[in-house]
């Protein structure tokens, strides 16, 4: 590694991080500015991984370690980031924090909607007071713009900001967008395999996983899509968020679909939040229509599409309107694909592990695919300007309230085409379905009351 060993570069490399000794490309001395922590500690007879915070018994395994010569525990949970074992050491910088160069002035001439402006003020306040706030913004509200002024305030006060999101796709999309509006501050994008790993910057966009490598680093922590898999499922990722922020720091959550507990806390006034119930284009959210889809699974297994689902698809094909059709599982989707392809051979299906997922999404954007079948992988984060949306098997457990609200939120995104149609085909209404519809209606109602909708 051609990095010069000077105290300042060591500081630049290590500040705010918690790394395995092996990850540091410098020889490490026993400097008082460095702190070494044992990789795995024991708490109440349970192992605890100091990097990812995992404590579950089944996440640890033992191996005969050639380094320490003993039976050594190691953490399987964050193994893919380099093994943390009982005898490995994590290192952090405890010397003075290095100053970063650059200027955090915002260069953006756009206009915030009224809803966005209110949320933006709340973000600025949280940054200034080191407090917590939830920004509850509907799909298509324009969440990113809401952050701009708060980030500027932080950067101008020499604070370090992190935006953590569960998806690499979002990191890749967000980082250049921020770099554009903050041209004189360096934006670092962190995800598995990214090249930015060694640079120090005041504005970091990271996958939630990469936060494991930080410790007390950020003055402002912004957590995008708090409710999204895997963050809300993984207590270790919550640990990562807490570990990566400074003890005294601002914590800003963004989501369109807070979970039940959070919604309740908001109602009871226990959680500070700002709601943006209206989209930036001032049109209401499309309300899903529910329709009995019968035993659609059985029909598909028998090699036919339920009549109404088929009609829905045929109508879109005839009208030349693109659509997303969501399925609960890969296997039912793959069974259905050839049946849809009988209607039009260019119909495609996509799921998380699909190697050509990116190409298919691009083809959809280029309108080369008329209907795209998908698992919940496309439930959020993707925007096609003018589409209709259907859910096949909306009764399935994977379609939680938040999943359904997000899916419905794919329609009517652009100001030019604000009227997408949303249809939930179900084999029995679930609570989640009803809650999702009520959620959307409620948001529209609040948007209207605030005068943030034009109709």
């Amino acid at each position: 590694m051609p990095i010069p060993v000077s105290p300042s570069s060591l500081a630049a490399f290590l500040a705010g991080r918690l790394l395995l000794e092996e990850e540091v490309p410098f020889p490490l001395s026993n400097s008082p500015q460095l702190q070494f922590i044992s990789g795995i500690s024991t708490k109440n007879q349970f192992y605890h991984c100091e990097r990812c915070g995992s404590t579950k018994k089944e996440r640890f395994a033992m191996f005969p370690c050639a380094r320490c010569g003993k039976a050594c525990p190691y953490c399987r949970h964050c193994l893919m980031m380099g093994r943390v074992s009982g005898c490995s050491r994590l290192v952090r910088w405890v010397g003075p924090e290095p100053l970063f160069e650059g200027d955090g002035t915002l260069h953006w001439s756009g206009q915030l909607s009224e809803g966005q402006a209110a949320a933006s003020d709340a973000v600025i306040r949280a940054v200034r007071d080191n407090s917590d706030v939830l920004i509850w913004a509907v799909c298509g509200a324009g969440k990113t713009e809401v952050l701009f002024q708060g980030i500027e305030a932080a950067l101008l006060a020499d604070k370090r900001v992190c935006i953590a999101t569960p998806r690499t796709d979002v990191v890749l999309e967000l980082a250049p967008r921020l770099q554009k509006v903050f041209p004189d501050a360096k934006v670092t994008a962190l995800y598995g395999g990214s090249l930015d790993r060694h640079s120090y910057s005041p504005l970091v966009v990271s996958t939630t996983h990469q936060l494991f490598r930080f410790s007390e680093a950020f003055d402002v922590m912004i957590v995008d899509e708090v409710d999204a898999f895997p963050y809300s499922y993984e207590s270790t990722l919550q640990f990562a968020v807490q570990k990566a922020r400074k003890p005294l720091s601002a914590l800003i959550y963004l989501t369109a679909t807070p979970n039940d507990t959070w919604q309740k806390e908001c109602r009871l006034g226990k959680r500070p939040f700002v709601k943006i119930p209206a989209r930036f284009h001032r049109h209401p959210l499309p309300v899903p229509k529910l329709e009995w889809g019968g035993n659609w699974r059985k029909a598909i297994e028998k090699g036919r599409l339920p009549r109404n689902i088929k009609e829905w698809a045929v109508k879109r094909l005839e009208e030349n309107k693109q659509a997303l059709l969501f399925f609960p599982h890969i296997d039912s989707m793959e069974r259905a694909l050839p049946l849809f392809q009988q209607l039009d051979p260019s119909i495609e299906a996509v799921h998380a592990e699909d190697p050509s997922r990116k190409e298919k999404v691009t083809f959809m954007r280029e309108k080369k695919i008329p209907l795209l079948l998908s698992t919940t992988v496309l439930e959020r984060g993707v925007t096609f300007p003018n589409i209709d949306v259907a859910v096949i098997g909306a009764e399935d457990d994977v379609f939680t309230e938040s999943a359904l609200v997000q899916i419905a939120g794919r329609a009517g995104r652009s100001a030019d085409f604000p009227d997408g149609k949303v249809r939930f085909f179900h084999f029995g209404k679930t609570k989640a379905i009803e809650k999702a519809v009520a959620h959307i209606r409620q948001m529209n109602k609040e948007g209207r009351e605030k005068g943030w909708l034009d109709r």
């Binding site: 089944e58 395994a61 033992m62 191996f63 005969p64 370690c65 050639a66 380094r67 050594c72 190691y74 399987r76 193994l79 893919m80 380099g82 093994r83 074992s85």
Partner: protein
């Protein structure tokens, strides 16, 4: 509940009676993960286990692949390795598995195929098992020797008879480089080897160079026969 070593899903959904009475260990991998690996069945090279279906018939003579024939033409290596058995082809799933096991250091994965290794070993005549050693440097870096781990988890006791002196990574070298390279192993313990049939365990057979180097050394030290068993069989270059 037993989680699959790879995906953590429950593995023993269809628990049989032998498993219920703890006479048999529940499988280490779930069926779905296990089915991504490709067991070498059907016709394979009598010497090195390479599946013959993948080879142009012009390169097969008498059930032996051309690679092995070439080895047998080499006066130094003629007859040093009596035979190699490999359990799985080195497909994408196996590549990923070995990367996680060996390079990421997920030691417990050594258990994933332990039962199958145990079964395979029963068909091989041997007196002594050895694992291909790692250089000291590499051993420190990885924390364990993957070949040793495979043997140990399959219940095989290994003898510590030789060490690796050459530390450069084999996988980064071309076939010719490997073939012409100097001996990478050095004997530590000679006495236990003489007149023994030896079984060498390794994670993967790629060109067969490592195993033949080891076999050569063991033969020179008096072993009567050397065979090898590897989890995976790579394609070789």
């Amino acid at each position: 509940m037993n989680g699959c070593l790879l995906c953590e899903e429950e593995t023993n959904r269809s628990l049989n009676w032998r498993q219920f009475f703890l006479l048999e260990a529940p499988p280490a991998l779930c069926l779905k993960c296990h089915s991504t690996f490709e067991r070498i069945t059907g016709e394979h090279c009598r010497t090195c286990s390479k599946p013959l279906a993948a080879i142009d018939p012009a390169f097969i003579a008498d059930g032996i692949c051309s690679d092995c024939l070439r080895w047998e033409e080499d006066l130094t290596f003629q007859g040093v390795l009596t035979g190699n058995s490999s359990l799985y082809s080195y497909n994408e799933a196996m590549k990923e598995f070995i990367a996680r096991f060996k390079y990421r250091g997920d030691y417990v994965l050594a258990r994933a195929f332990a039962e199958e290794i145990k079964e395979a070993v029963k068909k091989i005549p041997f007196d002594l098992v050895v694992a291909v050693p790692l250089s000291e440097e590499r051993l420190y870096e990885r924390g364990f020797n993957q070949a040793e781990a495979l043997a140990k988890e399959a219940g095989l006791e290994t003898a510590d008879v030789f060490e690796r002196i050459h530390s450069e990574k084999q996988s980064k070298k071309s076939r010719t480089e490997r073939l012409q390279g100097p001996q990478v192993f050095r004997l530590k313990e000679k006495t236990v080897i003489s007149n023994k049939k030896i079984l060498i365990i390794d994670d993967i057979y790629t060109t067969g160079s490592t195993l033949r180097q080891a076999a050569l050394l063991l033969k020179q030290a008096g072993a009567v026969e050397v065979r090898s068993l590897t989890l995976a069989r790579g394609q070789g270059t």
